[in-house]
Symmetry: C2
């Protein structure tokens, strides 16, 4: 997972869904109707030799067989195999895993396809390490960050700490502490007459994607940037626990979070096109790679440097304070004025091959409709959580389904494709290149995508981020999956849904007492991003999470460190692999349901409600300024309500459709699938032509992450920084019109197919 | 029809199709297979109450009934009604025709939808006319172009000569004759030290779109531009015939060709989005409207001005010579040095409502698949040929089909939509706005588009421009339509195909003796352009044409003049309306076949051959320079051949598919329809983001029109003009890679659906 912030650490958008909606009832009735047909053609009377299942409804016994088939012991064994060696993208161990996964898929009876790409990656130098040094100004090294690195770092294949795509370079000078490195952090420094121009900055990880921190530092004139993990957020100190790995899941002082600082998506040299031998490659200088050196360090090293900082004392009540046993000061300059900080980055960008591996179960009735379940394969080091838990679970789902197919008991109605993506950590390279190569095919055929990148980071509850179309299916499925937590089961919560509702409750939009579990919006944290934002494939991402009221933690503490190893996962997260198996069962059932249902279990009604809630948030955050500057702000509510009517009429038509016509079933399904595509705007978001989903994307600047209408959020953010924003307001007006149009035309896709046009302006 | 040049007056691309291809045989076999099923479920045994026709093959009796039903007398009556009044877009008579067409559609039993848009149009002033004057330099008017205008110009509603979207303005100065106004014409002037900067230019109509002539004049620094129709191309003088309208179809001296000089497509103020009340509207200054005044005159007026020109004598053997009885000279300057030319344009741009009218026959098996047949409704004046013949024919097709449906004998399998577009003459406004509004729906559901803008301009042969997917269907259909020409019938050519083959023969790619009729590529001359180039809808345009070996004529001489009236059409083009009826029968049968066939009659094999022929043309025209500057030119042949293999395998699979599964029939059809979409490149052509078809578009500059790969043509054209083209070659390399990728990924859409990925780079 490359960027966890946007979906995890920001206020969730209150997209609301009622479980017992009118649509559920409708679909129930409808499935009943279709089911009548079942007996009618079991003897093949439809056409001579016709397959008996042509208009079958799904066989729910299969659901149980698959869920029961998921075996925690096999999941554990998978994880052990997957984490034997460090397996960064583009190097030998990664290709060994390609073979391993391919072999497993073939054993399970799946078809296999492998798609290679030639992309630009980035590796630390094997000869001259990256270093951060404190110098006394007379050539003496007072402190070297490498002395505090992990003992594990010398194991074969372990990649030393680095930021992928940091340019190489040696920069030396004064140091400024800039909090989390957000735009407002630099504003605060400026308001105290602290200019970072030409200095190095040091910032905490957290709140936003690390690539944006580099970008903002660069924009503010910094010569280089260091990032460290503050113990306040990466250890249990606030709960009074001072133990760290390996006795707990907390981060030790020498743990360093690696990661990419590339803010784009897909191979940097071939934007918009697949990185194969047909591609035009830009020069590195001509694409948006970071321009200043950047490097991550642990809090052990950070403390040894920052304790010497001079300058302004950080206010006691600000979030610039942290958990190190020092007085947090801004700099620039050290207590001994001659001292300097030196950052030497020796990493290199390098072309390398990366591969995606696909395991395919061909559908027998609608083989040209694809249900995609995927996860990446590459890890910065061992990747026991990120991503190998996901792959371990996916392999077990593939095995269970594959063996059921081999037994002759089942073949899904639609095609199921398991996706093992390459080089996600660098910026979703494998999935983005694949979408770039096959977008015409994917847009025509993909029904949905389920992503399971880091499926377990805690034991407290299932957590789901999804597009509204998938909400109902997520709820229904969570009600079928047995609760992996014994104490929750003992407390009368037999299914994961029950605990989810307890831990992440969400008031309904009309603030009635009825509650449903929260579902978050999708940012750009993993491989669903290119599928959703470029191809319009409705998507769901999930993991077992910690209860956010119990821990003040960002994501999980060992994220992207070399301590993400099998033993810590087993000892600290999931001793019996029951949690990972629960997520596997959930994902398997979502996949099966999408692949097998005669009518797809998607929910346009939740999109209608979701839009109203997004509007509410937009109005709360920006309504005043938008009303002052736009003369058509009220039209947004109007088009959303009209969209709601289109959804209602669609539901109404479901009740009266011709249940004898397979082409009508296909039409309805196509309408539901197309709805997500209809939210793509062909020209892309402002200044981001490859991001086309008008509702769901990360914000280009993180500050408004989660405020939705990401293009609007970006433009409004820029306006706040611009002394003469008149031209920018024109761009807001343009994009606002694009939003209005997109919602209106999305409604058209749901209408009765011979009356889809609006007759008014 | 706004721009006839690209498809008419340029060398046709030799996209080859063999009529008796392997695919034809394959489909024949296949239809046979599916047909077997017919008896099997006629008693509704498929599912209780199932419609009997679910998997029916088409009923070919219906084809005869529709073709026989087309009644020339009714077509004539339609044309008479449609041409009673001048009906420019956005004014009363146009709205009266909206009502007329709506009423007719309703009478015929069709559903009707009307889509309004609020667009920017352009009209000449009613108070102060546009004038071109020759002045003696002392305030005396020596000649005024208006004295030579038609007597008809005073009839109510006749729009005086103008160029739509010319800016208003009075410009005065010297005059330079610049031939056809092509880029190379200005180059020739420069090579003779004639600089047009600050002068007015006068150019002949012909060779290219008039909007490009304005654009090129503007780029060369001209202060204003006049366009005239030279008698060499607009009268019969070369054949020794000096008679003109009304005794022949040739242009009289006072006939003036109106037309738009806007080079964009769709409402200029709302590019990319529908011009409704949600739209953001740019200011006129901020969009690409022409910046210099422009005006059309007849050859009567031109002669009275140009005979006084001084300067260089035009070379005898150049195409700058024309048919006026003067010595053609370049200027600048008149024989009397004090004389000047004055152009006063008083036209105004003005927001107006335009409407599309749709008549819909809902399909009974696959209602969510649309076959579109359309034509625009607006005319500069009476529009007897352009566009009202097309509308007259379309209404008769709608009547015939509608009455067959009303009788209960037939309902098409798929939905048929008749489209009466508004404001095509200004730049395809109605169709472009509609595509902008519903592109998500259209891309999902449109099967094909048939355009019949000016269906008869001669009596010699059917002429077809089409995308390769439609070639086979065009040939097959032409073999069914009776020949409207009695002498051709008497000569043993009973069907339009036979005459087509005689008049427009085309050698097969292997230069064997077997011949097929020519089919041209589609430029951007009419409403198919937005459907094909933005939504990827495979398209066909057609008309009955003159034999190009008999006449040295560009399009038809009375084009866009006020002499395009009912009587001249009847007396000079089609006395008994047999030719228009023949085109109507052809279009009706193409439409019916697309709407009724279980498997669509589209031809991927012709795309494979077409690509090879386009490659051949590219290599012939630019192979040397491309090989010098690109290191991967040979890959184009490679990807085209691989595409050919994908087509062959697709055909092979057709033979073995599961004929009992309606979902498989749908899949095959979707693959064929998607193939055209797959040639769209999401980012659009270089500098033309709204034109997305990588193979078929007009060239931005006309000089390479018809050379195909339009983006490549544009870039190569610019290179020739650039003293330092290194950067431009980078853009060529980028776009060339985009072409390679697009062809490769198009092949993927045809593959077996569970094995669509390439496993090599």
């Amino acid at each position: 997972m490359t960027d966890i912030t946007s979906s995890w650490n920001t206020p969730r958008i209150a997209i609301l869904a009622t479980v017992t909606s009118a649509l559920t009832l409708t679909l129930g009735l409808l499935v009943g109707r279709f089911a009548i047909s079942r007996g009618g053609h079991q003897n093949g009377v439809f056409l001579a030799g016709a397959p008996a299942r042509l208009m079958d409804t799904e066989d729910l016994d299969v659901a149980s067989k698959i869920m029961d088939g998921i075996d925690p012991a096999r999941v554990e064994e998978n994880l052990r195999e997957l984490t034997r060696k460090p397996h960064i993208a583009g190097r030998t161990a990664d290709f060994e895993l390609v073979d391993f996964i391919k072999t497993r898929f073939l054993q399970y009876g799946l078809q296999v396809q492998i798609t290679p790409y030639d992309v630009l990656l980035s590796y630390p130098s094997d000869e001259v390490p990256n270093t951060v040094r404190l110098l006394d100004g007379k050539e003496n090294v007072l402190y070297d960050s490498r002395k505090d690195e992990s003992k594990l770092s010398n194991a074969p294949g372990v990649v030393k700490p680095f930021h992928a795509f940091s340019p190489a370079g040696l920069v030396e000078g004064q140091l400024v502490y800039a909090g989390y490195g957000r735009v407002e952090d630099y504003d605060w420094l400026k308001s105290h007459n602290i200019d970072v121009t030409g200095h190095l900055v040091i910032v905490k990880y957290g709140k936003m994607f690390r690539g944006d921190k580099v970008d903002i530092a660069q924009t503010n004139g910094a010569a280089g940037i260091l990032m460290y993990t503050d113990p306040a957020e990466f250890t249990g100190m606030k709960g009074g626990d001072d133990r760290v790995y390996p006795s707990t899941w907390w981060l030790p002082p020498d743990g360093v979070q690696r990661g990419t600082v590339f803010t784009g998506e897909g191979d940097p040299l071939t934007p918009g096109y697949p990185a194969n031998d047909l591609a035009y490659r830009y020069k590195e200088d001509d694409v948006s790679l970071p321009k200043i050196p950047s490097h991550p360090i642990g809090y052990g090293a950070a403390e040894n440097i920052m304790k010497h900082l001079d300058g302004l004392k950080v206010p006691e009540d600000s979030d610039w304070q942290g958990g190190m046993n020092i007085s947090y000061r801004t700099g620039p300059g050290f207590l001994v004025p001659s001292w300097k900080i030196q950052l030497n980055v020796t990493s290199r960008n390098q072309r390398a091959k990366v591969e995606n591996v696909f395991g395919i179960i061909k559908g027998n009735i609608e083989p040209d409709r694809y249900v995609l379940l995927g996860n990446h394969r590459d890890a910065w080091i061992y990747g026991a959580l990120d991503p190998s838990t996901g792959t371990a679970a996916m392999l077990e789902i593939a095995r269970t389904m594959g063996e059921l197919v081999k037994s002759g008991d089942w073949r899904p109605r639609r095609t199921i494709i398991f996706c093992s993506w390459g080089a996600e950590e660098y910026g979703h390279f494998g999935s983005a290149e694949w979408v770039e190569q096959y977008v015409a095919t994917i847009r025509e055929r993909a029904v949905a995508y389920i992503n399971m990148d880091v499926p377990v980071i805690g034991n407290d509850t299932l957590h789901v981020d999804a597009t509204p179309l998938m909400h109902k299916l997520a709820y229904e499925t969570a009600k079928k999956v047995p609760n992996p937590n014994p104490s929750e089961r003992a407390a009368g919560r037999p299914f994961v849904y029950d605990t989810w509702l307890r831990v992440e409750p969400w008031l309904d939009s009309d603030k009635q007492s009825k509650r449903i579990p929260k579902i978050g919006p999708l940012g750009s944290g993993s491989d669903y991003a290119p599928l959703l934002q470029r191809a319009g494939v409705t998507s769901l991402d999930l993991w077992y999470a910690v209860d956010p009221t119990l821990y003040d933690v960002q994501w999980y503490a060992l994220y992207h460190t070399e301590y993400e190893v099998f033993d810590i996962y087993k000892s600290q997260f999931d001793k019996d692999f029951e949690y990972l198996s629960a997520v596997a069962r959930f994902s398997a059932e979502v996949t099966r349901s999408l692949a097998d249902s005669l009518l797809l279990p998607l929910s346009p009604a939740d999109y209608s409600r979701g839009l109203l809630d997004i509007l509410h948030i937009l109005d709360t955050n920006h309504g005043t300024v938008l009303r002052e500057n736009l003369d058509n702000f009220e039209k947004l509510e109007k088009v959303i309500k009209e969209f709601g009517k289109d959804v209602e009429e669609f539901e109404h038509r479901l009740k009266t459709l011709d249940s004898n016509n397979p082409f009508i079933a296909r039409q309805i399904n196509d309408q539901m699938v197309l709805l997500e595509r209809a939210f793509l705007v062909p020209a892309g978001l402002p200044q981001r032509p490859l991001k086309k989903h008008i509702l769901f994307a990360e914000n280009a600047n993180n500050r408004y992450a989660g405020s939705s209408f990401p293009g609007l959020g970006d433009l409004l953010f820029q306006i706040e920084l611009d002394p003469d924003p008149r031209k920018r307001w024109e761009r807001v007006r343009q994009h606002f019109s694009a939003i209005l149009h997109t919602i209106q035309s999305a409604g058209a896709t749901l209408r009765e197919v011979s009356k889809f046009m609006l007759e008014t302006m």
